[in-house]
């Protein structure tokens, strides 16, 4: 019984680097930061964190050659798909750091960035494993960091309340997840996805599997904020400091959806069931079909009545979780490709949108819709970027959001070419995106049409503009040239 530790260290290069950077950031802030102004501290510590993130991307380059390397018990997996998503997560974290530098996050600067990095580590680990215990521990690492980050507005009661709600909701969801995992383990005697898949294929479906699978879906459904496990999201999104909201809405979602795809497609491939109209069959496709329906309807309808931009985006993200689930319900490799593509597009878009909100809200006096009146005149560049993000979320071509949605729906239609069994879901999705256009346009109306009370220009630092413009460019590029990344994902997903 011996294990070669060298490949483990090599596979964990990015994570190790980030742990060291997180500790370095803490120490640095403690030693040098104390005597300086908070804004200066944010710049200093943020720069170090950025440098660390750049550093952590280096080991990924070295891993490119490693195709599907499985380490003991598949607790660690390295393959090109994982590398892509780790890279995406590092980029998302870096942009979040850039947004945070400009944002009031209280006086515990070092701790803030350290927690951000810990969260990122959790996400990287989540992406890079195919084993339930590791998934669970990594999920916890991510969640705990995010709970703490949500509470970082120490003077705001809303932030504290949001964190507590997020934590309690998360704790219950985690309990469900663990409970479900214990059933799965009991049924199959395995914790890694492939062995579970093989064992289930032999045993066939069993009612116990239903309980286990449903409980696992509750745990992961909480992370991706699908109805009815979404209730924490509006409060947490609204209460958390906006850069943290951005991180919850993007990084955490990317990682969770990636895991969800892997878990369902690999471990539970035998318990798909069916969500075809009139031919419902017990299985995760049916469950997700129902939750997707609920998420699309509830998310979009509730978003219409929101007066707060962050809450509006929260409900919008619930609706988007619904769209993404439509791709998963297709239960095909095309569907999985579409889901992964959309998750990337969605994350970049939402990160940008929350970034703009973070930059503008603090200077406009609040994050209600009224505070954004006449933004087009006060901050024309950021308003233009917001326009791009919002149009992408609404699914207007030729932006990334349109193609993402198109693939999702196409995959759902394609999976049953004779009967179009999922057409009902697609039709609902299309109708609901039409509804969504309304509230996105309301936001645009506030920014572009309604007059501002205070017409002074809002100045934002260059690094922030650059980071957000980078996101916008990504959204446009993914819309105009989706081909390269799509082909890559497609090729890799087949080998999943």
């Amino acid at each position: 019984m011996s294990v070669a530790y060298a490949p483990i260290v090599r596979a964990l290069g990015s994570e190790t680097a980030l742990v060291l950077v997180a500790l370095a950031v803490l120490t640095l802030d403690f030693i040098i930061g104390r005597k300086r102004e908070v804004a200066k501290r944010r710049e200093l510590v943020g720069a170090v964190a950025l440098f660390g993130l750049a550093l952590s991307a280096v080991p990924l380059v070295g891993q490119v050659g490693m195709t599907n390397v499985l380490l003991p018990g598949e607790t660690l997996v390295v393959n090109p798909l994982v590398i892509i998503f780790k890279f995406v997560l590092i980029v998302l974290t870096a942009v979040t750091v850039l947004i945070s530098i400009d944002h009031d996050i209280g006086t515990h600067v070092g701790e803030y960035f350290a927690m951000l990095l810990f969260g990122a580590i959790g996400m990287l680990l989540l992406v890079g494993t195919e084993e339930f215990l590791t998934i669970f521990v990594a999920l916890e690492l991510t969640s705990i960091s995010l709970y703490v980050l949500t509470a970082f507005h120490k003077n705001s009661l809303r932030s504290q309340e949001a964190a507590l709600k997020y934590f309690l909701f998360g704790a219950i969801a985690t309990a469900f997840l663990l409970f479900g995992l214990s059933y799965i383990y009991g049924l199959t005697g395995a914790t890694n996805l492939r062995d579970i898949g093989a064992a289930l294929a032999k045993k066939g479906t069993d009612p116990l599997l239903g309980v286990g699978l449903l409980c696992v879906l509750v745990g992961l459904g909480f992370k991706v904020a699908m109805v009815p496990f979404h209730l924490w999201a509006p409060d947490a999104y609204e209460g958390a400091p906006t850069p943290v909201t951005a991180f919850i809405a993007t990084g955490s979602k990317v990682a969770s959806f990636f895991v969800l795809v892997k878990v369902l497609m690999v471990a539970f491939a035998g318990a798909v069931g069916s969500a075809y109209w009139g031919a419902f069959e017990s299985g995760w496709a049916m469950v997700l079909g129902l939750t997707a329906t609920a998420s699309m309807v509830l998310g979009n309808c509730a978003a219409i009545v929101q007066r707060n931009v962050k809450r509006l985006l929260a409900y919008s993200s619930i609706a988007h979780a619904g769209y993404i689930l439509v791709g998963l319900v297709a239960a095909s490799s095309t569907g999985a490709t579409a889901v992964l593509f959309y998750v990337i597009v969605y994350a970049i878009t939402n990160l940008g949108a929350f970034g703009v909100v973070a930059a503008l809200a603090s200077r406009a006096g609040g994050d209600d819709l009224e505070h954004f009146n006449g933004m087009a005149k006060r901050a024309p560049f950021l308003s233009l970027l917001m326009l791009v993000f919002v149009l992408s979320l609404a699914g207007i071509p030729p932006l990334g959001g349109f193609f993402g949605k198109f693939y999702l729906f196409a995959a759902a239609v394609e999976c049953d070419a004779e009967m179009f069994g999922l057409l009902w879901l697609v039709a609902l999705g299309i109708v609901m995106s039409a509804v969504s256009l309304y509230y996105y346009l309301v936001l645009m109306k506030h920014m572009y049409v309604l007059p501002a009370k205070d017409e002074t220009r809002i100045a934002t630092p260059g690094h922030l503009k650059m980071a957000l413009a980078f996101c916008a460019a990504g959204v446009v590029l993914l819309g105009v040239f989706p081909e390269p990344i799509l082909a890559l994902l497609k090729a890799l997903v087949v080998r999943l």
Binding site: F169, I172, P228, L231, I430, A434, F481, E483, K490
Partner: protein, 654 residues
């Protein structure tokens, strides 16, 4: 032509660039903004003219397409493409040309609006989208432009969003056309699945080139696949081209600035639906039963007559024109449905010119009379605005179908093709033509004849406003003579002119009769005061009111669909209210009742002591439940568990 088609993309691209530049311009750069727009539009117009000339001289219907791969998606390969054929060339030229003159007019109309650059930005984007729709050889691209056109019209109709009526109108237009778009989108999905491509023409593999095969496959509702798809697409066209019962948005869209009305109602948005049906004509005509075409014809015929009756009883100068547009679109649809591709498209072209003329003319009138739109408060403008009057008269005669103006020739073609297909449809359409002549005569007399009934002295408009209508009126006169050639140009072969002279004679006769009747009712004695009742209203009584209220269609929708939607919303609210609030209030009331008892008992036994306690308990219980409603975590967790239970039960049952 094969070389020319590769430059088709430039036609929509130039206005698109103009729109992008406008978006970045400061608001003060009005001259620069207008200059950029006009240059881009003019250049597009020249390019369209070049393409048009390129298609001339080919007597056979020739078609050049240029497709390119946008990206591969697994087995699905998404291509986009451009097309150059006579229909596209003529349409693109019309849109670019009319659009250009509308832009010129808009520089005058919007000259004192503070959001001048934004207006031109939207206008350019609108023109770009419309041109893109015309030159697209791919349904996906067509759909994208189609949606963009819808978005722009939404923005433009609501341009003066501070008017509540404009805000309502923009929403109405958007929602109504969206209903159509759902059908359109489903049609596209279905077509893409059945044909395996969204390219219209692709050297034998295009979707339209497979129309014959699709007619052989069974589709939904017992129709053939071709008819099913055609009907879904037609729902989209009905929304966009304001066909009954989706016509309600168009008249309300008058709330936008008048150049927008001209652009939407003449050259672009409403034409998109007719153009799309013309473009997909092969699919509509594929089924030998002719079911799809018949439906198109009857919807068109009914809309033509229905809207014409409404137009008779309107007082707003632009509303008359709006219903007239609905009616004329009905004519076009009817022609297409009767199998007359060339007449329908030809009427679309001539109508674009004279309806743009009429709208811009009405814009001139509105500006000349200091933003007055009620025809009853006008009168005698012939003396004050001679140029506008002259042009408007030409437009009116063209619309009324008086020879030799353009409208006569195209309407005659439409009626002829209807005559050959179905006598009843022809009869109804002829009656609609009679009404058209009548209501236009009514409008002329109310606006230009008699004496001025308004307050401020009207004045003639500046040159940049009357020049466009003068230019357009030249075409309103002359364009009709190309009618016969147009059929050949589109590739139609000599048809049997059976009944040609009867139709033409009757058409002239009803036109003359309509004008005569208009003169009898409105011309012999013009209105003296603005508050005088309409002579027709005196004679028709309740029917006039009914027409004036547009057959109560809006009221009907309010009472049914909108009420039902509201009801659904109410139900949702009621769930919130009853289930959660109900528990809250119920218990609060109970607590209140208890407190009453406590108070009563308290008064008896503890003298006022119990009263305070009772009030406190009410307050506490109310607050407690308010907290529950306002997002208490316990409630959240209950819903989480409840959701799991429901999913478990569904799992168990299936």
């Amino acid at each position: 032509m094969n070389e020319l088609v590769k430059q088709q993309w430039l036609i929509p691209f130039l206005p698109l660039v103009a729109a992008a530049v406008q978006a970045l311009l400061p608001r003060t750069a009005r001259k620069l903004s207008a200059g950029i727009c006009l240059t881009a539009m003019g250049a597009s117009c020249v390019l369209a003219l070049r393409a048009f000339v390129g298609t001339l001289g080919h007597h056979e219907a020739e078609r050049a397409v240029w497709n390119f791969v946008w990206f591969d998606y697994g087995t699905t390969r998404l291509e986009l493409g451009f097309i150059l054929d006579p229909m596209t060339a003529a349409m693109a030229l019309m849109v670019a040309f009319v659009g250009f003159w509308i832009f010129v007019n808009a520089t005058g109309y919007m000259s004192d609006d503070e959001n001048f650059t934004r207006f031109f930005c939207f206008l350019s984007l609108f023109a770009a989208a419309m041109l893109g729709l015309v030159v697209a050889n791919n349904l996906l691209m067509l759909f994208m432009c189609w949606e963009l056109v819808g978005l722009c019209s939404y923005l433009l109709i609501g341009f003066w969003h501070f008017k509540p009526s404009a805000a309502a109108a923009m929403k109405k237009a958007f929602i109504t056309t969206r209903i159509g778009d759902v059908g359109f989108f489903l049609g596209i999905l279905l077509l893409s699945w059945q044909a395996g491509t969204l390219n219209l023409y692709d050297g034998g593999n295009g979707a339209l080139e497979q129309a014959g095969a699709l007619a052989g496959i069974p589709g939904w509702f017992g129709w053939s696949m071709a008819t099913t798809i055609a009907m879904l697409l037609f729902i989209g066209a009905m929304g966009k081209s304001a066909q009954f019962p989706l016509h309600v948005w168009l008249p309300d869209a008058m709330e936008g600035p008048t150049p927008v009305s001209a652009l939407i109602h003449a050259a672009t948005m409403v034409a998109a639906g007719v153009f799309m049906v013309g473009r997909m004509f092969a699919l509509f005509a594929a089924d030998t039963s002719g079911l799809a075409l018949n439906i198109v014809m009857w919807v068109g015929c009914f809309t033509a007559l229905f809207s014409a009756t409404i137009a008779v009883a309107q007082f707003d100068i632009k509303r008359v024109l709006a219903y007239s547009t609905c009616s004329q679109l009905g004519f076009m649809m009817m022609a297409l449905g009767a199998g007359g591709l060339a007449p329908g498209q030809f009427h679309l072209l001539t109508h674009a010119f004279f309806k743009a003329l009429l709208f811009l003319g009405s814009g001139c009138v509105i500006i000349g009379t200091h933003h007055e739109q009620d025809m009853r408060k006008m009168g005698g403008l012939r003396k004050y605005m001679p140029v506008t009057f002259g042009c408007y008269l030409i437009g009116m005669l063209a619309l009324a179908g008086v020879p030799p103006f353009a409208g006569f020739w195209s309407k005659d073609e439409v009626l002829l093709v209807a005559f050959q297909r179905n006598k009843l449809a022809w009869g109804l359409a002829t009656f609609a033509a009679f009404l058209t002549a009548f209501y236009m005569t009514r409008q002329m007399f109310m606006v230009f004849a008699g004496k001025w009934r308004g307050h401020h002295e009207p004045h003639e408009v500046p040159w940049n406003m009357w020049l466009p209508i003068a230019v357009l009126s030249v075409f309103a006169v002359g364009l009709g003579f190309f009618g016969a050639q147009y059929g050949h140009y589109l590739g139609a072969h000599g048809e049997d002119p059976h009944g040609k002279w009867i139709v033409m004679g009757l058409s002239v006769a009803v036109g003359a009769a309509g004008i005569l009747l208009g003169w009898i009712v409105y011309g012999r004695r013009t209105m003296e005061h603005a508050d005088e009742p309409d002579p027709l209203a005196v004679k028709l009584g309740a029917l006039f009111t009914c027409l004036n209220r547009k057959w109560y269609v809006d009221e009907f929708y309010d009472a049914t669909i909108i009420r039902a939607t509201m009801l659904l919303g109410e139900l949702w609210r009621a769930f919130d209210k009853l289930v959660i609030d109900g528990i809250l209030h119920g218990i609060a009331w109970m607590a209140w009742g208890v407190s009453q008892v406590v108070r009563w008992v308290g008064d008896e036994f503890f003298i006022n002591g119990g009263f305070d306690a009772g009030c406190e308990s009410v307050r506490l219980s109310g607050r407690e439940f308010a907290k529950f409603q306002a997002g208490r975590i316990q409630g959240y967790l209950r819903i989480l568990c409840l959701g799991t239970v429901i999913l478990l039960v569904i799992w168990y049952l299936k």
